[in-house]
Structure formats: C-alpha cells, structure tokens
C-alpha cells in the first residue's frame, strides 16, 4: 500500500501577537511547525505502516525552507519526502494549490492520499476535497478513525452530533483531524538520520497539470484588502472592592433589561 500525506509548513498562529500601538501583526520570531491536522494525518499513515507495512511518502508545496517540515516527517518515520517548490506556483489560492498538488499526485503510484482537514493559518479546509475532485477520487473529510478491512477503508468521520462510520472502496482522499491522532515523537536516531536523507525537489515542470491552473493565474479568488480587526470601543473599567463590583454588574444588567 502506497500512502501519500500532504503537509503544510505553517506559522504557529497561537504564538502570533498584535502590536498594541500599530495594530499590526508581529510575525518575527514566530516558529514554523507542521500544520497540526497534517501531523495527525502523518501519524495515521505511520500507524498503517506499522500495521500493514505501508510505504509512506510526504509531500509539501512551499518555499525552500519548508524542507524543515519534511526532515521532521523523516524523523517521525516516513519513507520518502518531496518538496514541490517553484515560483510558478506562487500566489496560489486553494484551488490553484490543489491543482498543483493533484498534478504531483497524478505522477505517483498511490493507493491512499491523506491531508489534514485544514491549516491553522488559513482555516479553509478546501485543499483536501479539491484534490479529490481533480483526481476523480472519493473523499471523506473530518476523519477521526481509520482501518483497512477486506481491501476497504473503514473510516470514522466526526460530525456536529457525534460521528459516522463510512466504508470506502479503493483509492481515496481522507482529511484528518489533529485531535484524533496524537503524533508520535521523533526518535533520536530518526532525527540524526533525517539530515542525511534525500528530499526530492520537484518544480512545476515535473507535475502533470495545465499551466493555466497553477499559481496566481490559476487562482479564482483575490484578496481585495486585508486589515486588522476593528474592535468596538471599550466601555468603562472599574478597579473596586468585590461588593461594589457586584453592585455595578447588577446595575448594568438592570439597565440592559437582562434581569
């Protein structure tokens, strides 16, 4: 069984702070990590490797420095790593990104494709299902459990009310949730080894996709403007004894007819 896991290098958005004076993002010193949902996907792929001897390839599209997340994937236990990097792929929205990744996947012999449900820098949850569509494969998103039985994938999908059990025939795309698959630690030997392993570098000429469908030209969406959020003006703030605080709150609740 050949599994390909698509991962993304993202800034750890929980570490991002706002400059209180200028209202702009402070990006300096924010660490880059493997997107958490993708890391969950890596873990489930490696579980299938442990159980059934699957061959696990990891691919990321990004800037050359995304090499770091591939090394981390090596240290976790993947067999092969590909960095898809090319200026022609830059400025891509989700659709163009999915076209590029689908173009890479078309050239590979693959039985199962796993992506994280969504990346923490964009939170769109679009690239996985879009890859599935480009390749004409079935998809299950929000995956929290996976096993293989009689050549079929038995998939547990999280829903708002609970979960669903689904059976998928043949090649498919699954998008995983970080919360369900606690990633293994990198092994010491793995870390040492990771820096000697070869990361394959692929450019746009190596993938099977129409050139009009990638990069900025292949992106139907455009950013019209971006801005930091306007917050509503602050109300009054009091530093008082608890007794007085209680009276202030009760008065406010009465004023607004909450009580």
């Amino acid at each position: 069984m050949n599994i390909v896991v698509c991962i993304k290098q993202v800034p750890d958005t929980t570490e991002v702070k706002i400059n209180p004076v200028t209202g702009t993002l402070i990006r300096d010193g924010v660490p880059s990590i493997i997107n958490p949902d993708d890391k969950g996907g890596l873990e489930v792929a490696l579980q299938l490797k442990d159980k059934y001897g699957a061959h696990v390839t990891v691919i990321t599209m990004g800037l050359p420095q995304a090499d770091a997340v591939l090394r981390e994937a090596f240290a976790m236990g993947v067999d092969k790593a590909i960095l898809l990097t090319d200026r022609k792929l830059g400025g891509a929205d989700t659709l163009a990104t999915s076209n590029a990744l689908a173009g890479a996947l078309r050239t590979m012999d693959v039985d199962l494709i796993i992506t994280g449900r969504q990346a923490i820098d964009g939170d769109t949850a679009q690239v996985g299902p879009q890859i599935a569509e480009h390749l004409g494969l079935p998809q299950v998103s929000y995956v929290v459990g996976l096993d293989v039985k009689d050549g079929k994938y038995i998939v547990k999908k999280e829903t708002e009310e609970g979960y669903q059990m689904l059976e998928v025939e043949g090649k498919c795309v699954l998008t995983t949730l970080a919360s369900a698959f606690k990633p293994r630690y990198m092994t010491v030997a793995g870390i040492v080894d990771a820096y000697d392993r070869e990361v394959e570098i692929w450019g746009a000429d190596k993938i099977d996709v129409d050139a009009s469908k990638i990069g900025k030209a292949g992106s139907p969406t455009n950013v019209y403007k971006s801005f930091t959020k306007e917050l509503k003006p602050a109300g009054e703030k009091f530093e008082v004894e608890p007794e007085e605080a209680v009276e202030l709150i009760v008065a406010k609740l009465k004023e607004k007819h909450i009580i």
Binding site: D123, V140, K229, K237
Partner: protein, 335 residues
C-alpha cells in the same frame, strides 16, 4: 464563460433528517439583502429525500424560489451524491452567488463543487456585502488564526461561492404569508462514482449544550482554574437562566469539553449577555464573541485585552465576585 449569464443569489439549504439547519435560515437572511442589492431573486436549493414539505419554511424566511431536489440517493449526506445533484443545479440555473453553511457538510461539499465547476470559494466568512460603487461581491473572513481579516473577491469566475459559520448571520422574522415558487429538479446520477457507503450515523449522548442558542453565557478562562471554579460559574449561569462556555485554554487543559468552546476554533456566539470570567481575551477568542449584545468582563489583570471589547470591565478576583454576584442575583430575581 459569460459572466452576464449568471444571475440571482442561491443558498444551499442544509437539512439533516429532514430538519432545516439554523444556518440555512441565517444565510437566507443575509442573502435576501444581497439579492435585493442586485434587484434579483433569492433562491434556496433544498436537496434531500422526502423534504418537499420544508420548501415553504424557506420561503417564509425570505426565499423567492426553491429548487427542490428530492431523490432517494440524497437521503443521507454523502459527498459524491450531493456534489452531482448540486453541480447539475448550478449548471442548469447559473447562479451569481451560492452560499453554504460552514458545517461539516458545507465544508465538505462546497470545496468539492468549487473544483468541479472551477470557481472560487471563500471559507468561513464573517461578513458578506456588496461594494458601494460597482456592487462587487465582498467576502470577508478571518485569517491567520483570526489575527487579520481579509476581504476576498472572485472577479472572473461564476458562481461566486462562500461558506459562513453558523451563528454569524441573522435570520429574518418568519413570515408565513410570504409566497414563493417551488421548482422540482431531477438530477441524473452517475452511480458508478458512488464509492462511499454510510454504515451508520451515531449521535453521541454527550452532554451536548448548544452554546450558540443561549441568551446568557457565563464564560470561563484560565483564571477560573479548574472544575471547581467552573462549578461557581455554573451556579451563576443557573440563576441567570444561561449556560457556561469556555475559552480554548480550559478546553485544551481538559477542564471543559470542546462543544463549550467559544472562539476561532470553537463556536461563534452572540448572546444578550456574555460574562467573561478570567478570560484574557486572545484575538482568537474575541473573534467568537465580540458581537454579543452586552459584554461584562471580570479579570485580575487590568491590561487584559478582553477589557477592550467589554461594555463593563471589573478588575478583580472572579473567585470572590462570582459567588457574591450569584447570591445577590438570586435575591434580586426572587423579588
């Protein structure tokens, strides 16, 4: 593609087991405004099996027209079956805009369709509007974990598609006297593509509380500390007839379940009263609650960002104030 052929604003009216989901009605409320802005029709797409009786509900909440796609293949939501049906509706009707709820269904279906029809999709929008000058459709969403907002446009592709999180838009008042047209649409299914089979749907009897429906939320953060701390908040919520919600910190710490989490990775709420106790107010949290009618914050740290959005801020110890407030309100309400 001739852009001029694409007209009218469409809403995917998500239903589960025949029940129209609240987010569909919320989308109709916003889409009504957009359709009026263009002087065009608002159309709801109702897909399912034996759901025809729900069409009038969609009209009562603002739809001019309902495209009813009723087929046994659509009894349960499965990506390919729904993608085929909605794709054919899009091909036949050529919508200007299609809106979906950002639910586990909408966020599965909409990207699949965006790739099938080769158009743009903006995820989890918090604001939809038309530009004042040229009526360009402006879709605004949080990015970078809610740290910045981005307004997205889809200039050359149609339909322009977006998902919107539940609880963000407001539904119109129900008007049962509204009249509308119901058109049945029969898709041609290609069953050879049906590769996913639903074995079972399990509703977990987890103590699910829908915090998005609560009028009053007493919400706790790191400052609450532990389960005992949350018990104090629960007493206060009981007196006010509300629910207890939580910041991400307390969910990550395992003190509160995820379904109580407010914020970017949790739920968006807009109760009449949001009482934030010991919540510092990270931007990701504010993204989920700043639309609340009245925000009162109690926090020891007078520089906590939560005070920037609070109508009333109390710098103090919630562990002292909350029990006293509970007692005082119990007396007040008894009167």
């Amino acid at each position: 593609m001739n852009k001029e052929e694409y007209k009218n604003v469409y809403v995917f009216a998500e239903q589960r087991e025949g029940e129209i989901q609240p987010v569909a009605l919320e989308l109709l409320g916003k889409a009504r405004e957009l359709a009026d802005g263009y002087g065009e029709k608002l159309v709801a797409i109702l897909a399912g099996y034996k759901v025809a009786d729900k069409a009038q509900t969609l009209i009562a909440y603002g739809a001019d027209e309902v495209v009813l796609v009723d087929a046994p293949e659509l009894k349960d939501y499965i990506t390919e079956q729904y993608a085929q049906a909605i794709h054919q509706v899009i091909e036949a009707y050529k919508p200007r805009i299609v809106l979906y709820g950002a639910t586990t269904i909408g966020r599965d279906l909409a990207p699949r369709l965006s790739a099938r029809v080769n158009t743009g999709l903006t995820a989890d929008c918090t604001k939809l509007a038309l530009a004042e000058d040229d009526k360009e459709f402006l879709m605004t969403r949080p990015a970078f974990g809610g740290n910045i907002m981005a307004t997205i446009v889809i200039r050359e592709h149609r339909p322009q598609m977006a998902t919107v999180r539940p609880g963000v838009m407001q539904k119109l008042a129900k008007d049962d006297s509204r009249k509308g047209v119901v058109n049945s649409f029969t898709p041609k299914f290609d069953e050879s593509k049906f590769k996913v089979k639903l074995i079972e749907t399990v509703k977990e009897a987890k103590d699910t509380v829908d915090i998005t429906a609560a009028k009053v939320l007493v919400s706790g953060g790191r400052g609450v500390g532990n389960t005992e701390g949350f018990a104090k908040l629960q007493k206060l919520a009981d007196v006010l007839g509300g629910q207890v919600s939580s910041s991400r910190a307390m969910v990550d710490a395992g003190v509160m379940p995820h379904d109580r989490q407010v914020g970017q990775t949790g739920k968006t709420v807009r109760p009449n009263l949001y009482l934030a106790c010991g919540i510092s107010g990270a931007i990701q949290h504010l993204a989920g609650m700043e639309e609340s009618e009245l925000i009162i914050a109690i926090n020891k740290d007078k520089f906590a960002p939560i005070f920037n959005v609070a109508d009333l801020g109390i710098v103090g110890d919630l562990h002292k104030i909350v029990p006293m407030l509970t007692e005082r309100l119990a007396k007040e309400i008894e009167k």
